[in-house]
Symmetry: C2
Subunit: 345 residues, 2 copies
C-alpha cells in the first residue's frame, strides 16, 4: 500500500517517511532572539563571508544543505532528488546553491510556503517509492528581500505596525524511508486563495484566509480534530495574521486558539527586537521548524504537530498594477509515531 | 509495479501515463510563423484583452489551461494537482492563473525548462498513483519578459546576433492514467550545470551543456541510443545553442545531428521574422510541444521523441553581480506506444 489521495487536497502517507536529519542556519538578529540556543549556526554579520547579500543568502542555504547532509550520517548523503526554492527573483539562491550538488533538481516557487511545499513533494516521493532519499531546503535573507521587495536598506524607510521582518535564515531536511521519528504522516496541498487584500505591508492578513482554508480542508479530508494535535504551527502569519487566522477558524466552528502558534512570533522577541508584527520569509518557517520543533517531535515531547507554511504570491509588479495579494498554505502532519497504532502503545 | 528510479537521474514510468489532452495559445508573431496552422488560438494583438502585459500573460495561461481541460472531455476536468510556473518575478502568471482553479497547486520555477519540469512531476505523480489526473502548464510573453529581463519595449534597444526572441505562448497538458497515446515513458531530471558563460545575450550557449549532460545521462541510465528516437527535441537553444549542443554530443561520441531539432528554430522563420538566434522562453517549448509534436505522436507519425526543455537559471541581479549563467535541462521520453512490446507488434 502506498500513498493515498484522500478526497479533496490531502494525501495520507501509507509508510510515513522520516525526517531523517535537519539543519538550520540563521543571522545575527535571529541569534539574539528567544530561540538562540536552538540554532546550528548563527552568523556574526549576516554576510556569511560573501560580498553581496544575494551571495550571502546562497552561502547560507548551502551551509544548511551541507549540514543536513552531514547530520544524515555516512552513506545517507546520496540524494535521489533535491527540492528547493526561495523568495529572490528567478530563485537564484536555490539554483546557485544546487550548482554544487550533482543531484537532480526541482526548482520551486511557493513564496514563504516553500518549506512546506518542498517537504510535501519530498515526502510524497519517498512514500510512493519514487525516491529513497530527498532533500528539501529553502532560505530568506532580510537584506536581499528588503531591496528586492521594498527599499534598499540605505533608504531607511519607515515600517507600518502591520509590517513583518524577513528572517535571515535557512532550513534543510533530508527525508528518507526510515523508521525513525519525526514522521511525515499526511500532507494537504493548498489552493490559491484571495480575499482582496491589497496592503503590501499586511501580508499576514493576505495569507490568513489560505491558512484557514487549508486547515479546514485537512480536518475535512481526514476526520481529525484540533484536539488531536499538540501544536498547530503556522509559518509567518505574524501577530496580525495569527489573530485573523484564529478568528477565521473560530468562525468555522473549529477553535484552535490554545493550540496555535506562529514561527514569526516565536523567532523574535517582538517588544525587544523591534520587528513590528513579527518574522516572515521562507527562512522563518524553515529555521524554526528545523531548530525548535523537529527535535521535540523526535524525542516525543511533541507528539502530533500540524505545520503549515503560508505564502503571499504577489510580486512588486502585481502590487504596482493594483492587484490584490493571493495566498497559499501547505500543511504537513508531523508525528512522533508512524501511525495511530503506535500512538496508543 | 510502479515507477522505478534507475541509477542516476532517470525514472522509468512502469505504467506510462497518457498526455490525455493538450492545448496551446500564442501571440501574433508566432501565428505568422511556420507552425501557424497548428495553434489552437492566436491572439491578434498579444494583449489577450488585458490592460498590462503581465495580465495578458496570465490571461493567455488561463486560456491554455481552460482549453486543455475542455479537450480532456466531460468528467475528466477534475484535477488532483496542478503544476505550473513561468518566467516572471515571483511566478505571478501561474499563481494568478491558478487562483480561479480550486485545485491544489504546486508552484515551480525552472526558467525555460518549466514545461518539462511540470510534466516530469505530473507524470511521476500519475504513475506512482499519487494522482489520477494532473495538469502541467507554463507560459512566456515577449513584452513582459523584455521589460523584466532586458529593457522596456519603448527603449528600442538593439539586439545582438546571438540574442533570442521570447515566445508569446502558453502550453498546457492534462496527464492521466489512461491507455491512449502520447505516453510518457521515462523522465530524466536535470542537474544544475555551469560552464562559466556570462553573456546574457547568448543563453543558448549557457544552456547547451546542461542539455548535453541530461541527454548523455538518459542514454547512460537507460541503455537507449539516439537511433531509437525519431526526434530529439530541445526547448529553446536557438541557432547558436543548437550547434553547440550537437557538437558537445558529437564530442561525447554520440552524434545526434540528423535527429535533433529545437522548438526555438521551429516556431519562427528566422530569416523572414527577424528573431536573430531563434525563439526562447517557457512558452516556446510548451507551445511547440502542445501544437506540432504531441498530435504527431498521438497518430504514430512520430513514434519515439525525446523532449528536453532547457532553462537558464540566472536573474538580472545575478548577472549584474558578475555571476555566470547556470543551466538545467529536464528530459521526457514521449512515445506512441506504452512499452517496447507494443512497438514491435
Amino acid at each position: 500500500m502506498t500513498t493515498k489521495k484522500l478526497g479533496g487536497q490531502t494525501a495520507a502517507l501509507a509508510c510515513p517517511p522520516s525526517l531523517l536529519s535537519f539543519a538550520n542556519v540563521v543571522g545575527k538578529k535571529e541569534g539574539e532572539g528567544p530561540l538562540a540556543a536552538c540554532f546550528d549556526y548563527v552568523d556574526t554579520d549576516d554576510a556569511f563571508g560573501a560580498s553581496t547579500w544575494e551571495q550571502s543568502e546562497r552561502a547560507m542555504q548551502q551551509k544548511a544543505l551541507t549540514l543536513a547532509l552531514e547530520k544524515a550520517g555516512p552513506g545517507e548523503g546520496q540524494l535521489d532528488w533535491l527540492f528547493a526554492g526561495d523568495l529572490l527573483n528567478q530563485c537564484i539562491s536555490s539554483s546557485f546553491a544546487a550548482r554544487d550538488q550533482k543531484c537532480p533538481f526541482f526548482g520551486l516557487y511557493g513564496a514563504c510556503s516553500t518549506m512546506a511545499e518542498s517537504l510535501c513533494l519530498a515526502g510524497m516521493f519517498v512514500d510512493a517509492k519514487l525516491a529513497s532519499r530527498c532533500l528539501a531546503v529553502t532560505s530568506s535573507h532580510f537584506c536581499s528581500a528588503e531591496r528586492q521587495f521594498r527599499f534598499p536598506l540605505e533608504y531607511g524607510g519607515q515600517r507600518t505596525p502591520t509590517a513583518q521582518w524577513t528572517v535571515t535564515g535557512s532550513g534543510a531536511c533530508v527525508v528518507a524511508g526510515k523508521d525513525r521519528p519525526p514522521y511525515l504522516r499526511a500532507v494537504t496541498v493548498g489552493t490559491v486563495e484571495d480575499m482582496g487584500i491589497t496592503d503590501i505591508n499586511n501580508m499576514g492578513a493576505a495569507m490568513a484566509p489560505a491558512a484557514a482554508k487549508t486547515l479546514c480542508q485537512f480536518f475535512n479530508d481526514t476526520g481529525a480534530k484540533p484536539e488531536d494535535f499538540d501544536l498547530i504551527l503556522t509559518g509567518d502569519l505574524g501577530f496580525v495574521g495569527s489573530r485573523l487566522f484564529e478568528r477565521l477558524m473560530q468562525a468555522q466552528g473549529c477553535p484552535i486558539a490554545g493550540r496555535h502558534n506562529d514561527c514569526g512570533l516565536m523567532i523574535y522577541d517582538r517588544l525587544r527586537q523591534d520587528v513590528h508584527a513579527g518574522g516572515s520569509g521562507c527562512g522563518c518557517a524553515a529555521s524554526v521548524l528545523c531548530s525548535f520543533i523537529l527535535p521535540q517531535i523526535a524525542c516525543q515531547r511533541l507528539k502530533n504537530v500540524l505545520f503549515m507554511a503560508t505564502g503571499a504570491l504577489m510580486s512588486p509588479t502585481s502590487v504596482q498594477q493594483g492587484e490584490s495579494i493571493p495566498g497559499i498554505a501547505h500543511l504537513l502532519h508531523l508525528s512522533a509515531f508512524a501511525g495511530k497504532e503506535e500512538e496508543v502503545r
